[in-house]
């Protein structure tokens, strides 16, 4: 349950001036949008990044790389705040200090999936959350596909990172095709079920991308070299204990197990627990199923 007061929610109809232009062009555009966070949206540089909810480590790594590069080019990312690739795209955008737009398939009363509640709050503060559904609409399976038309509609193009044969990401790609947007696809292993949908898109004519340069070349712009330098420590890091700092250094948005952390840091697992919980409470990291942790900020 989301406890934020309803008052913070902005209501925009398709007759308002700040209704996104790109959506206005759609025949099945939402009449009303409910919005939290930064508004209005920029008009040109939005880009959709979507993919499987059950992403593989390969998919997460790919999503991270493309998102990082795109955000450094000044792109605003759009995705569906689902688990897996969507969450990764939002998270990496925020970590890079970028602007990310999340499109919900339900009303603001709910946070779905629940693991994303911290991410939800962060996007509401630093990005934009948008839905066409009224406040009380619960998450219902039949509502999710239609929000995908907003993702593709807002975006200039859509990047599909990983998608299984019947993935919702394929629906987004289909909408994008119908709306005349570009569809880019990251290829995967031929043995991976989580890439089967991607490969079908490629066979149907979507553009295969290996690097961000491939993608940017389509728009005729030169990629700025992706800096590999580590971000400077944020000022809030000053409050961390030495152990917490060590752990943060070791964590990234690719999940790492506690065993691996113990090994890499040389701290025993019983001591690690304290640091991990404290970091989690500070909202810096998140625990994932399978004794895994990933960095949040």
């Amino acid at each position: 349950m989301n406890s934020e007061p309803q008052a913070e929610i902005r209501r925009v109809t398709d007759e308002d001036a700040d209704y996104p232009k790109s959506l206005r062009e759609l025949a099945d555009r939402p009449k009303v949008l409910y919005i939290k966070g930064k508004w209005p949206l920029p008009e040109t540089c939005l880009f959709g990044i979507v993919g499987s909810r059950r992403a593989t480590p390969y998919g997460l790594e790919a999503a991270k790389r493309f998102t990082t590069d795109l955000v450094r080019q000044g792109v605003v990312t759009v995705s569906g705040l689902a688990a897996g690739i969507d969450a990764c795209a939002h998270r990496v955008t925020l970590a890079e200090g970028g602007w990310t737009v999340a499109i919900l398939g339900h009303g603001f009363e709910y946070v779905y999936p629940k693991e994303n509640r911290i991410l939800f709050k962060q996007i509401a503060e630093k990005g934009t959350i948008m839905t066409e559904f009224p406040y009380e609409t619960p998450p219902m399976a039949q509502n999710f596909p239609q929000r995908n038309r907003i993702i593709s509609g807002l975006s200039r193009g859509v990047l599909v990172v990983e998608a299984a044969e019947h993935s919702g990401a394929l629906i987004t790609a289909r909408y994008a095709g119908e709306q005349g947007k570009d569809v880019f696809v990251v290829p995967g292993s031929i043995f991976s079920l989580q890439s089967a949908g991607c490969h079908r898109l490629i066979k149907e004519g979507a553009r295969l991308v290996e690097t961000t340069e491939d993608l940017l070349a389509e728009y005729g712009c030169q990629a700025r070299p992706a800096g590999s330098e580590r971000r400077a420590a944020a000022p809030s890091d000053e409050l961390l204990t030495p152990m917490e700092k060590t752990l943060l250094e070791l964590l990234s948005c690719i999940p790492v197990s506690v065993d691996e952390l113990a090994e890499a840091s040389g701290i025993s697992v019983d001591r690690l627990a304290e640091g991990l919980l404290s970091l989690e409470l500070k909202g810096k990291i998140q625990a994932m199923p399978g004794q895994l942790y990933l960095r949040y900020d």
Binding site: R53, R54, T56, P57, A83, G84, P113, K114, E115, R117, S192, L193, Q194, S257, V258, D259, E260, A262, S268, V269, D270, R271, A273, E274, L276, L277, S278, E280, L281, G283, A287, M288, P289, G290, Q291, L292
Partner: protein, 513 residues
């Protein structure tokens, strides 16, 4: 002519004395047994007749009536054979001893007159040893399991002939190695902690489980070593004393599961297959007999593939887990068996087993995963203090010979220290909890109090991570044990922080990804 001698039978784990009265009267030769005998007792007739004849005595050609009193207690089993035979020999004056010894007679007869082992000799003898001046005649084959008892005189015999010689004061019972100093046997053939690669969090979880008596659930993909870890658990449990060994062995004695080994050499480790029926798990049957949970008394019960177990079997575990004993009621009797065991359960993170696996792909739909997790009910999970998730091992970790981890002996030493602390702490508590896991809320206020920092962490965890409040007590108990492992009298914030890591299923969203 009438003869009265005493025997006994088991009701649950307690002995009930049974008077065997033999009356010989004139009339058509016949042999009848009364006093609610079941089929195996009624069949004693044929065994007794043959055994008496083959020992070289005449079976009286009179009307033989055997009464087993009290008449309203159902008697089952072959343990009255010896008492009936001796009663007949005394009543027919084939044997005329100067003095009939006051003792209880137990034993099944073979047709040639030799005496066979009986079921449940240990609990019978142990229960009798609590009464003053008890002496017991029993089969030689049972002497190994009861020889460690004190407070009871034992007369073991191999056959009816030597019993008669003893009655006539012509011979003495065979001497047996009396209760020599008992020592727990060392574990051999057991997985040592140092043999298990990686899985440091799981090992730590097992250490906490062993130290505080906390039940544990392991969640991990196939091949992460769940069964191996469970098998290593008995090796870090504290060594047991004679009383505990007797506690555990007497259940096995009732179940007739002791085969010439005397006392159990070490704590039992039971891992029933997931197709086990509720009766097989809890005990029961037409005539109640102990199930797996009682056979695991004072030891470890490992339930692999927990969601595959029958739901009714799992649900029935709740009461024994709470009370440390199980009550069985059947049409033909009722019984209470002890069931104080450490529950270790294991399950996959999803039906296919590969959710969260770094290499393999999970093929399960969200609904399937929810159904799978839903098979384990909340009330059962509530009785499991520790949830441990096992990450999949990487190939190089499996083959890394250089990596050394602690041996079971080192961990066991820590566990025993923690147990000692608990024992001395709870000495003067009213209902004397066995270990931290069995603390009552009232004891906890006194013995597992939190520091203000600890409370702050707990509050923050509930607010920010959505930890459900019903796991508070579990958390405090686990934190108490973690503090004990460090020999720390006050529970610090770090102990609580570690305990929270072992409640992953209580977090909001639980296992959903």
């Amino acid at each position: 002519m009438i003869a009265k001698i005493e025997s006994a039978c088991l009701i649950g784990m307690e002995a009930a004395r049974v008077q065997v009265e033999v009356n010989l009267s004139k009339g058509m030769p016949s042999f009848s047994i009364v006093g609610l005998p079941d089929a195996s007792v009624r069949e004693a007739k044929d065994r007794v007749v043959a055994a008496i004849r083959n020992t070289g005595f005449e079976f009286p050609s009179r009307r033989v009536t055997v009464n087993l009193a009290p008449a309203d207690l159902r008697k089952e089993g072959a343990c009255f054979d010896l008492a009936i035979a001796v009663g007949i020999l005394l009543a027919s004056e084939a044997v005329v001893p100067k003095r009939v010894p006051r003792c209880l007679w137990l034993g099944e007869l073979a047709l040639d007159g030799s005496i066979r082992r009986v079921r449940g000799a240990l609990p019978l003898a142990r229960s009798l040893s609590r009464q003053a001046n008890s002496s017991l005649v029993l089969p030689w084959e049972n002497i190994e399991e009861v020889s460690y008892l004190s407070g009871i005189k034992l007369f073991p015999f191999r056959d009816l002939r030597s019993v008669v010689r003893w009655l006539n004061a012509e011979g003495a019972p065979e001497p047996f190695a009396a209760a020599s100093a008992w020592k727990p046997a060392p574990y051999d053939n057991i997985v040592d902690f140092s043999e298990i690669k990686g899985q440091m969090v799981a090992k730590r979880g097992l250490e906490i489980a062993a130290a505080g008596g906390h039940n544990l659930l392991m969640i991990g993909s196939p091949g992460t070593g769940k069964s191996m870890l469970a098998q290593a658990l008995p090796g870090i449990l504290p060594s047991w004393n004679l009383q505990e060994a007797l506690d555990a062995t007497q259940v096995h004695s009732v179940a007739n599961a002791l085969v010439g080994i005397g006392l159990l050499p070490h704590r039992p480790y039971r891992n029933p297959h997931h197709s086990v029926s509720p009766v097989g798990l809890l005990g029961g049957g037409d005539i109640p007999s102990p199930g797996e949970i009682s056979l695991a008394h004072r030891g470890v019960l490992f339930l692999d593939e927990l969601p595959e177990f029958r739901r009714d079997a799992l649900e029935a575990l709740r009461q024994p887990l709470e009370q440390g004993m199980v009550h069985i009621h059947r049409a033909r009797g009722r019984a209470t068996y002890p069931s104080d065991f450490l529950l270790v359960a294991a399950m996959n993170p999803c039906p296919c087993g590969f959710r969260g696996h770094p290499k393999k792909e999970c093929q399960c739909s969200t609904v399937k995963i929810q159904n799978y997790m839903g098979k384990i009910s909340g009330p059962l999970l509530d009785r499991i203090d520790l949830h441990v998730e096992l990450p999949a091992l990487k190939m190089d970790e499996l083959f890394d010979e250089k990596k050394k981890s602690e041996s079971s002996a080192v961990v066991k030493a820590r566990v025993e220290n923690a147990r000692q602390l608990q024992e001395s702490r709870y000495q003067d508590v009213k209902h004397r909890p066995r270990d931290n896991a069995h603390l009552t809320p009232r004891d906890m206020k006194r013995h597992a109090d939190l520091t203000p920092e600890g409370e702050a962490i707990l509050r923050a965890t509930v607010e920010r991570l959505g930890l459900s409040a019903r796991s508070f007590d579990r958390l405090r108990k686990v934190a108490r044990t973690i503090a004990d492992l460090e020999a720390c009298e006050k529970i610090q914030a770090r102990h609580l922080a570690e305990a929270i890591q072992y409640r992953c299923l209580d977090r909001q969203g639980g296992m959903s990804w």
